[in-house]
């Protein structure tokens, strides 16, 4: 088929909501955009384990500990689903790992903030996973088949993450005054970074329109952020906590909450590597990768040896 015919076939599939599958022809820029987005998403799942793993040994009860262990294990699985989806676009797991560990690849900036105390684990499950779910539910209809399937699986598993986080927040917000204060402090620190997870404002987002046209993105950054704010406010009120935003108020006309503007300078500072924990996260990643190298090699050598013996 001619290039123009292939392009027409691709465009008509996008138009008719027919998913693009790995062996189908696709424009090079579509492939690259998906590869960048899916691998960044995978890296976020993997780096996302670090701030939470910090608290597994110090969870306040066995119930909290098994939940947190299960959540962190889920994140590893989510990373794997997404790496597999990215690999269908013609890259290898090793290349992606190298890009993450060298600092070349990006991951969600939210994981460059520290988890200072137990309330942070509640706030992360509730707000960070909550924001991720808002984004991921929309991505279940993304146009690249393997990415959409990974999202469906992830969304099914993610709902418990948010609920366990909110349960932690409830225990603390309804606990002693000190516990309530810790919950409020965690909310204060995580609220704005959670809103930043949706990315730059639509007016500033360079790739957004093309991604929406290709139906890689289904809903714009600002619309998703608004949805998250609207959903979160009753949850904050139930806890008897307040949001660190003096501009927050219900807008009858729009039927949505208005909220203050985001500190984008902070966002870009953290994205470009100067957040509180960027270095620590990459160090931990590299340490795990390097110290596990002999295990990966030994497993491969053992498998090869066994195969030779059988043959």
């Amino acid at each position: 088929m001619e290039q123009a015919d292939l392009q027409r076939l691709f465009d008509s599939k996008i138009e008719q909501e027919i998913r693009i599958e790995p062996k189908d022809w696709m424009p090079e820029a579509y492939r690259k955009t998906n590869l960048r987005q899916i691998s960044q998403h995978a890296h976020s799942e993997v780096v996302g384990m670090l701030p939470e793993a910090n608290w597994i040994t110090r969870a306040p009860s066995l119930r909290r500990k098994v939940a947190l262990l299960a959540k962190v294990q889920d994140e590893a699985g989510h990373g794997l689903y997404l790496y597999s989806a990215a690999e269908t676009l013609g890259t290898s797991r090793d290349e992606m790992m190298d890009d993450l560990n060298s600092g070349k690849a990006k991951y969600s900036s939210i994981f460059n903030y520290p988890t200072l105390n137990w309330a942070d684990i509640g706030a992360i499950g509730w707000l960070v996973d909550g924001a991720a779910i808002t984004n991921q539910v929309a991505l279940c209809r993304t146009s690249y088949g393997p990415y959409a399937r990974a999202m469906v699986r992830i969304c099914k598993e993610e709902s418990f993450h948010q609920r366990q986080g909110y349960e932690i927040m409830m225990s603390m917000a309804f606990g002693t005054p000190q516990q309530k204060q810790m919950a409020q402090d965690a909310l204060n620190r995580w609220w704005w970074p959670a809103l930043m997870m949706f990315g730059p404002n639509d007016s500033e987002s360079t790739h957004s329109q093309q991604s929406l046209d290709w139906k890689i993105k289904r809903v714009s950054n600002d619309d998703l952020r608004q949805e998250f704010v609207d959903k979160s406010i009753p949850q904050v009120e139930y806890l008897g906590l307040t949001l660190p935003d003096p501009d927050l108020k219900w807008n009858e006309e729009r039927g949505h909450y208005d909220f203050g503007s985001i500190d984008w300078e902070e966002f870009y500072r953290v994205v470009s590597g100067n957040g509180p924990c960027n270095k620590e996260r990459l160090q931990a990643r590299n340490k795990a990768h390097n110290e596990g190298a002999w295990v990966r090699e030994a497993a491969m050598a053992f498998a090869e040896k066994r195969q030779t013996n059988v043959a």
Binding site: Q73, G77, L80, A150, A293, E297, A299, M300, F302, R306
Partner: protein
Amino acid sequence: MNSKNWPLFEVFIRSKNGLSHKHVGSLHAADPAMALENARDVYCRRNEGVSIWVVPSDHITASDPGDAEELYEPARDKIYRHPTFYTIPDEIGHM
């Protein structure tokens, strides 16, 4: 450092007896036994299955989307292969 990638395996899960195995995803492992163990950890954490198949991905032969026309078009105009092509009087009832 030896940077040889572990091979890729495709994972198929039977969700319960009576249903066929269905493709759920893929993973890397050094050998089939490790692929099975990893498949259990990654794809069966919530009672998703009662049986797992793992198949080395490079053992799968797949059709080419470019051949879609010659593979599937001929079936499209053979409507006489469907029961609704044949008229049976109402008084006969369900057939």
